[in-house]
Symmetry: C2
């Protein structure tokens, strides 16, 4: 969702030009951290100011944008409800992929998204074992101490990583939790290299987790399998990691599918 020039979008993804432009502006405001001036938007959107102004006034009227007292624009509260309901649809979208993982591997599968400075579990399919991971949907966990968080962080810019970790903190949840920032960065380098993250009892003793970033997700998202380390051994890892990586690719493609 990037193209503000309705003409070139017409050749790739046909659509109503004004609607495409309006969402492009919301996207640009989001890219700027939730706030931007009309001039900044004009520069990035490569559209004339009267056009941007008219679209923004419409969005303000709808509650999807707000004009601040310094004349800058911010995302508006009306988007919260749509975002909340869309988040619930995500669970529906990914459920088949999580179920497939559970069938193949026999362990609990989860999806979590980055929400502010914490990871939030938004869908889960538990395994059939009596002793299994159960993470309530909606639960917020520290990015630095979880597989899903460590899977997502490497895909972010360095300053964004610093901001998130500084804001959410690095509490010592178990003796295995990474609490040193430089050590975390080294771990993120390793994750980038091998393409998946491991939670080695960092969030909870006795629990292991393998997680992979979902490429192209509209918001940073990770898919994972988790369970007791007695079951999630190296042999399990060899089977699980390619399957989780495959699920991440499929989910990413599904989230980007437009037909």
């Amino acid at each position: 969702m990037s193209n503000v020039d309705g003409q070139s979008t017409k050749s790739t993804r046909s659509g109503v030009q004004s609607v495409v432009r309006a969402f492009a502006l919301l996207d640009l405001i989001a890219d700027a951290g939730g706030r931007a001036t009309l001039s900044e938007l004009a520069e990035r959107a490569d559209l004339p100011m009267p056009t941007i102004h008219r679209l923004l006034r419409t969005l303000v009227g709808l509650g999807c944008a707000r004009q601040m007292e310094d004349r800058g624009y911010a995302l508006g509260p009306a988007l919260m409800r749509l975002g909340d309901l869309a988040g619930r649809q995500l669970g529906d979208i990914v459920q088949p992929y999580l179920r497939s993982l559970v069938q193949d591997l026999g362990e609990t599968a989860n999806i979590a998204v980055l929400d502010g400075d914490m990871m939030v579990y938004s869908a889960q399919v538990p395994s059939q074992h009596s002793m299994r991971m159960f993470t309530e949907v909606g639960r917020r966990v520290h990015p630095s101490a979880t597989g899903v968080g460590k899977a997502v962080l490497p895909s972010l810019k360095q300053e964004r990583i610093a901001q998130i970790v500084q804001s959410s903190g690095m509490p010592e949840l178990t003796p295995k939790t990474i609490t040193d920032y430089d050590e975390l960065l080294e771990e993120l380098d390793r994750i980038r290299e091998r393409g998946y993250a491991i939670d080695e009892e960092e969030q909870e003793l006795g629990v292991r987790c393998f997680a992979v970033n979902v490429p192209g997700a509209p918001t940073p998202t990770a898919v994972s399998v988790s369970g007791p380390k007695s079951r999630l051994d190296e042999e399990f890892a060899k089977r699980a990691i390619p399957l989780v990586q495959g699920a991440a690719q499929q989910i990413g493609a599904e989230l980007n599918r437009v037909e």
Copy 2:
């Protein structure tokens, strides 16, 4: 954000017709629980099907809507990021009002929004007392056992209340927690009558909270003050309740302000 007929909107809130219509369709899908068919939308929007179809295809192309295999439409994942960032703006919007409450009353002030079946604290200004309420932003709490939840529930439809309570459950957090559904409904009747909710040690022993629904909020929202019951006595209540009610009105007006 309701009017799908661009013409009548023109006289009230001028705007780009296609953009107004596109968001109206998203709103209608949201009203239907996140999913709707083209026919349902045509009926409620009072627009010709080709028009609705064209707008929906645009939204699908942007990732803001998804077409399911049964040809129905659902809200799409691209709205999640916008909703998340808009939620963070909410904190900025309400901060001055919460700060004002804390200055006037000397106790912690909070805003919480309904997210699925739980209330989520999205902003807080703590009091200066050493012993004070501190609720982490992002924390999810049960609607039936909190002031903010009980403030919001009376504004919802009966079937929505039943759905939320059935889904989130009514766990006994303290001996004072309401765990009987009929008793909860009676309490909601009382809240409707007097215009505010009280958490009488239901969420946490020794803690009291006065909460008011925010009228006209784009998503169910409540504002509250909370603290130890030794300080939040009846005399405090007499001072606090009108101020919290006033803050709720102001926040509601602010969230609906378009100029």
